[in-house]
């Protein structure tokens, strides 16, 4: 199971990185969304995997009665998901506003901060 998950995360990473290598910022954004899933799966798998038993202690017991899934990675992933979503939302609006202001989603055409025709530094003194 863990092996399958490890390979699946590899696929997630590959797809996400492929998308992020695009010139089109909207693809990069999709890549970021997938990247967060990839990372979350990795965190989850690192905590080792058990099937189907959620880490909930039954009523009247002080401990889980059977082997349960590792709760810590779940907590970490929950934190990470929410953070990643907050970033995703910000980036989306950033992309949206960039498109509004700059009129393109091609990063090669967006070069305002580092313009291609920037003057060279002056020589002399």
């Amino acid at each position: 199971m863990e092996t399958a998950m490890a390979i699946l995360t590899g696929l997630f990473f590959a797809v996400s990185i492929y998308l992020m290598l695009s010139r089109h910022i909207i693809r990069i954004l999709l890549g970021v969304a997938i990247l967060s899933n990839a990372v979350n799966l990795t965190i989850f798998t690192n905590g080792r995997i058990t099937r189907e038993v959620p880490p909930i202690i039954p009523e009247g017991k002080a401990f889980p009665v059977e082997a349960v899934a590792n709760p810590l990675p779940q907590a970490l992933v929950l934190t990470a998901i929410v953070i990643a979503f907050a970033f995703f939302a910000f980036l989306l609006v950033l992309v949206f506003r960039s498109y509004q202001e700059l009129g393109t989603d091609d990063t090669d055409e967006m070069r305002e901060a580092e313009p291609p025709n920037e003057p060279a530094p002056p020589l002399g003194y």
Binding site: F63, A86, F87, L91, A113, Y125
Partner: protein
């Protein structure tokens, strides 16, 4: 709640029983203050007249908390506190050693200076849309990153400071800001995500997230787990955060785009969090891996220093020039990390403190220069020596300081680092440090010659015959700049107090067991996992 009685549980096995001494609460005081005042500023954001006072009060309180914490750590040693009173490593531990406390203190100073500077530099719209909340939360994030003792928690603080920095970066929504922010945001997101990924692997190998716990377990795990690859990945992630060559793309792409006070604070704080993380990871946690990676780090350091200084020489825009000086300075700090000796580490930390103050001050200076000249390119600049001699004096001092020339703070870390390099025969690293100093000198001397010495009209050649009336510089901007300048002069003239602190930090970093023992006092090992089923 009524269940309490039914469980016969020995609390002392899970929790710290006695309350920690009151002074220990100082370890969380800066960020509590930061968050509280951040929230207050958010609530008062529409009252742009009064909000700055709330913010300045908050920044002052934060600085006071940082001073208190620093003093407490200085006198009593590392302060450790685990949240929720859980025993480490089960809760999230905050551990303020000298390194964290010192950097937090400098953060507090820069935050306050920036808050004052921003009184003039940030418009009402900027305040209304969250400048001060962003600032306070970024400072809280930075401070918490310096103080936390939990590696996943460190990631969370990285994200807090990163998202707050996004907010500061885009404030204004100018075209170049949006482009700069896009590059900054995506590349930094990649870096923090890689950090998170490395944390995941660390958890998989160690089963723990507490840094002290990782440190003490590293030796036993080293043979079975892929520690070297994981640490290389951490090096990658933090080198990117620290803007080390060749992962520094995001910094020159973005640091010149926001308001100058924002650039200044970024320059002072953000990359240094990356440097801090590198020091923490590679000295406190994975010393053995540092020994293997030292050569690589040294090469990265040399390239960063020299190419950073060359980048500064290649700029027409003064603000971008400063961005490259930030990068060049990062190289010097990494050189200290690569050397790893007490002198080298002391030099690296001293350089970090110096660079935080001086780089922020330089941006503040350029803010005033641009305000008076209305241009920020070397080709068009000029005339400041005549119109603002006092500014020229301040500028010259900062330029000398950043070049590592006496009698300012830049000299000492440079001397320590060169000495440390020669100690181990790394003459080429010493050469790189000195060469970057020379190139930096040339770069800033050109800025001085062009924008101060040169008269304005000869520079413009009739392009714009309207000589803008030199605007009076506001007291808030000049004041915070002068305050930072005085610090670099003080450190330059009498470095002993700071060097004593950085020497102690170097000694602490060289002996990670002291950090571990502060978190896990010897002889108080909890036996939690031995619990029997009821």
């Amino acid at each position: 709640m009524a269940l309490d009685a039914s469980y016969d549980v020995d609390i002392s096995q899970a929790m710290v029983v006695e309350l920690p001494p009151l002074a220990d609460w100082l370890v969380v005081a800066p960020l509590v203050v930061g968050f509280v005042f951040g929230a207050l500023c958010l609530m008062t954001r529409k009252d742009t007249g009064r909000q700055p006072f709330v913010a300045i009060t908050g920044l002052l309180a934060m600085l006071a908390a940082d001073i208190g914490l620093f003093w407490h750590v200085y006198t009593n040693g590392t302060v450790v506190m685990t949240m929720g009173r859980w025993l480490p490593p089960f809760g999230i531990t905050f551990a303020a050693d000298m390194l964290g406390a010192l950097l937090a203190l400098v953060t507090g100073i820069l935050g306050f200076a920036g808050g004052v500077y921003a009184l003039q530099d940030i418009s009402r719209t900027g305040r209304r849309y969250g400048f001060y909340p962003f600032l306070l939360l970024m400072l809280s994030g930075v401070t918490a990153a310096f103080l936390t003792g939990d590696i996943f928690n460190l990631y969370v603080w990285f994200e807090v400071l990163l998202i707050a920095s996004f907010g500061l970066l885009v404030l204004g929504s100018e075209r170049e800001q949006l482009d700069g922010a896009t590059k900054y945001a995506f590349l930094n997101l990649i870096a923090t995500t890689l950090f998170l990924l490395a944390v995941a692997y660390i958890y998989g190998v160690f089963g723990t997230l507490n840094m002290a716990d990782i440190s003490r377990k590293a030796a036993s795990v080293r043979d079975s787990g892929p520690l070297f690859t994981i640490t290389a990945m951490l090096l990658f992630a933090f080198a990117m955060k620290a803007a080390a060559f060749p992962l520094n793309f995001w910094l020159p792409a973005s640091y010149h785009t926001p308001r100058i006070v924002v650039s200044g604070l970024f320059a002072g704080l953000l990359t240094k969090v990356g440097v801090y993380a590198l020091l923490r990871i590679f000295l406190t946690l994975f010393g053995a891996e540092r020994d293997i990676l030292a050569g690589t780090i040294a090469v990265i350091a040399a390239l960063t220093m020299v190419l950073g200084a060359m980048g500064a020489l290649a700029q027409n825009d003064i603000r971008r020039l400063l961005g490259y000086l930030v990068i060049s300075g990062i190289g010097s700090m990494l050189a200290g990390l690569a050397l790893g000796s007490a002198t080298g580490l002391s030099g690296a930390v001293l350089y970090a403190v110096h660079s935080m103050i001086v780089m922020t001050a330089l941006y503040f200076l350029v803010g005033i220069m641009v305000e008076r000249m209305k241009v920020f390119t070397l080709r068009e600049a000029g005339g400041l020596y005549s119109s603002a001699p006092w500014l020229a004096a301040l500028a010259l001092m900062l330029f000398l300081s950043v070049s590592g020339l006496p009698p300012f703070s830049g000299l000492w870390p440079k001397a320590l680092l060169v000495k440390a390099s020669l100690d181990v025969g790394a003459w080429w690293l010493a050469f790189a440090i000195l060469l970057s100093g020379l190139l930096t000198t040339i770069a800033v001397a050109r800025v001085f010659a062009f924008s101060f010495w040169r008269e304005r009209d000869t520079a413009q050649k009739g392009a714009g015959e309207v000589q803008p009336a030199p605007a009076a510089t506001s007291g808030a901007m000049a004041g915070s700049l002068t305050a930072l300048l005085l610090l670099t002069v003080a450190v330059g003239v009498y470095p002993e107090p700071v060097v004593r602190v950085t020497d102690r930090i170097a000694a602490e970093l060289k002996a990670p067991s002291r950090y571990v023992e502060a978190v896990f006092p010897p002889g108080s090992e909890p036996l939690t996992t031995e619990q029997t089923e009821p």
